[in-house]
């Protein structure tokens, strides 16, 4: 399994090289000059020339791309043009908040998705089933940012229950303090993360509930379940133990791919709720032509995506012992 993981990560290398090249090519196509953006609207020609030189933008493209690969190989992602700090630091500060909200969103969506999916499957053909599946359909049909703004309007303004914007205390340390008997920070952190995570998790919850439902229906119809029923096992146990495991297999396998969509959704969610994550950083970097930062953010996303997919495969083997990776 270790060898498998290592092999997968080595396979990521050519992809990373390709991603750098594709991103670089798109950056070349982008009209507009980072040097001019740096100087603002009163940029003079002379000033732009000086800054292009200082940033190395006057070099031919193949030298710049080569330098980037060379530096990357030495663990150096360059310095952001606009943040005046190394790209690694800029990303480091934003990665944790993004993961925080993505993971909480994932948890919320798995819980909602499984509950709705199981209930719908068990009560197949009833109004409850119809209601659950309507939720699932509407959940994937709603633009994320609209849902987010409506949520904010309802919970922050009309009901005044949740803070409208920003991030509370970092979640993991707060969780630690809560376990030590001081839950204040955790409450604050959860109140801040609730709306962004719900917004981000909505589509996912809908997708999962459909998957769970159809997978459960499939297994409920299979022979070994019938056998279990015939042996007189209680129906709830049948549902939970046998079919849920199969349903989870489907959910886990799809989650790897959904994680990319989740990170993408973070771009919109973060800008609505003022969440200091990578998504906002990515949009800002593109709109400022901060080339090293864009490269860094895209690579980070890609690496996270690859890691999650390896993790998914490993989880897969845990849930279904028949699967082995060599």
């Amino acid at each position: 399994m270790l060898i498998y993981t290592a092999r997968r990560l080595i396979l990521f290398l050519p992809i990373a090289i390709g991603i750098v090249a594709v991103t670089f090519a798109i950056m070349q196509l982008l009209p507009g000059d980072p040097a001019a953006v740096l100087l603002g609207e009163d940029a003079s020609e002379e000033g732009v020339r000086d800054i292009r030189q200082a940033l190395g933008l006057d070099q031919p493209w193949w030298i710049r791309l080569g330098t980037y690969y060379f530096d990357l190989l030495h663990g150096d992602m360059g310095v952001s043009y606009f943040q005046n700090q190394p790209v690694v630091d800029a990303i480091g500060q934003r990665l944790v908040p993004t993961l925080e909200v993505a993971i909480v969103a994932l948890l919320i969506s798995i819980v909602i998705g499984i509950v709705f999916g199981v209930v719908a499957a068990v009560r197949r053909g009833t109004p409850i089933d119809a209601f659950c599946m309507l939720f699932a359909q509407l959940g994937v049909s709603m633009p994320v940012f609209w849902f987010g703004i409506l949520l904010m309007y309802l919970f922050a303004i009309q009901l005044d229950m949740l803070p409208s914007i920003g991030r509370g205390p970092p979640l993991v340390p707060a969780l630690g303090r809560a376990l030590m008997g001081n839950p204040g920070d955790l409450g604050l952190a959860l109140m801040h993360i609730a709306m962004p995570a719900l917004t981000l998790g909505l589509t996912n919850a809908a997708v999962i509930s459909r998957l769970v439902r159809s997978s459960m229906l499939e297994t409920l119809g299979q022979d070994y379940i019938r056998t279990a029923r015939a042996k007189g096992l209680a129906p709830t146990r049948i549902v939970l133990v046998h079919s849920l495991r199969n349903a989870m297999l489907t959910v886990v396998s799809v989650m790897g791919l959904r994680f990319g969509a989740l990170l993408g959704g973070a771009v919109l969610t973060e800008s609505i709720f003022g969440w200091p994550g990578l998504g906002q950083l990515a949009v800002a970097a593109i709109s400022q032509r901060d080339i090293p930062l864009i490269q860094g953010v895209v690579l980070t996303f890609a690496l996270a995506f690859a890691l999650v997919n390896v993790l998914v495969d490993l989880l897969y083997a845990v849930i279904d012992p028949r699967i082995r990776y060599e």
């Binding site: 992809i15 390709g18 994937v140 049909s141 609209w146 990319g260 771009v267 919109l268 593109i286 995506f305």
Partner: protein, 281 residues
């Protein structure tokens, strides 16, 4: 296995799509307004007998703008999916049939595109090409094509060794013939299902890009643009975002239901769904 659910989905989705088509065709005619006729004294009017859905921030008739916007949004959604299908299917067929290093190279390119978050990729491409209907369409297509490439490749792989292909090879059929006459029909079902669902995704993606400021150029109306603008008037004129948001939701719902219904007929083995499982291992 043709279920009552499938038929119901198909009927409901079909009805919604047909309604939208009628709205696109006749909506602007029956309103009596031009979509770009401004009237600043009557801006942000509530829905009434004069303006059925009210007016927008320039006093333009929202009904007319929604009808014309439906056309623009549909053109963007349908053509971006169409481009993605053509590119994805071709790439997938070639990759799956030839295998070896061709397959390896193509699939690494697919992986590269999959590794870049969709919205970042779309944003960067719109920023590079500039806004507008055509460029927005291209940027969405650039995000969508990988999905089709992967499905088609996996179906092709499973058919490559089939008897009827071997027979065609033995009879001296050309590679193009084998790919497009023998294998292609097998992928049509799953691809149509995916494409129908993809149209809904494209409509939502267009609204997200509009919200971030990368939409079409005014005064061309799209639903996404109207929704993105409407959220800024959430308090002063809630009907703007509500009308546009509901229109998007119902339309996407229509395409999703239709796609689900089609699945029973065109993709009974669930290839379109299962490809994801294949590709993650």
């Amino acid at each position: 296995m043709f279920s009552w659910r499938g038929n119901l989905s198909l009927a409901a989705g079909g009805t919604i799509i047909a309604t939208i088509v009628l709205f696109v065709l006749f909506g602007p005619l029956v309103s009596g307004y031009e979509f770009d006729q401004m009237d600043m004294r009557n801006r942000l009017q509530l829905p009434s007998a004069i303006h059925w859905l009210g007016t927008d921030n320039f006093g333009r008739d929202l009904w007319t703008r929604m009808a014309v916007g439906a056309r623009v949004s549909m053109v963007i959604a349908v053509s971006s999916v169409a481009i993605a299908v053509v590119v994805g299917v071709t790439v997938g067929l070639v990759s799956g049939y030839f295998g070896g290093w061709v397959d390896l190279a193509i699939m690494r390119v697919v992986d590269i595109f999959l590794g870049i978050p969709p919205i970042v990729l779309a944003l960067a491409i719109v920023a590079a090409l500039g806004p507008g209907v055509v460029n927005l369409t291209l940027s969405l297509a650039a995000v969508f094509w990988t999905e089709y490439a992967r499905v088609v490749r996996s179906v092709t792989l499973s058919h490559r060794e089939a008897d009827y292909v071997a027979a065609a090879v033995a009879l001296g059929a050309s590679k193009a013939r084998i790919l497009f006459i023998e294998i292609l029909p097998n992928v049509v079902g799953p691809v149509i299902v995916l494409a129908t669902l993809g149209i809904g995704t494209a409509i939502i993606a267009e609204s997200g890009l509009s919200f971030l400021g990368f939409g079409v150029e005014p005064p061309t109306p799209t639903w996404g643009w109207t929704l993105a603008y409407g959220t800024r008037y959430l308090r002063a004129a809630p009907w703007l975002s509500t009308v546009a948001g509901l229109a998007i939701m119902i339309t996407v719902l229509g395409f999703n239901l239709f796609g689900d219904g089609l699945r029973d007929y065109l993709d009974p083995r669930g290839v379109a769904r299962r490809y994801r499982r294949l590709s993650s291992t």
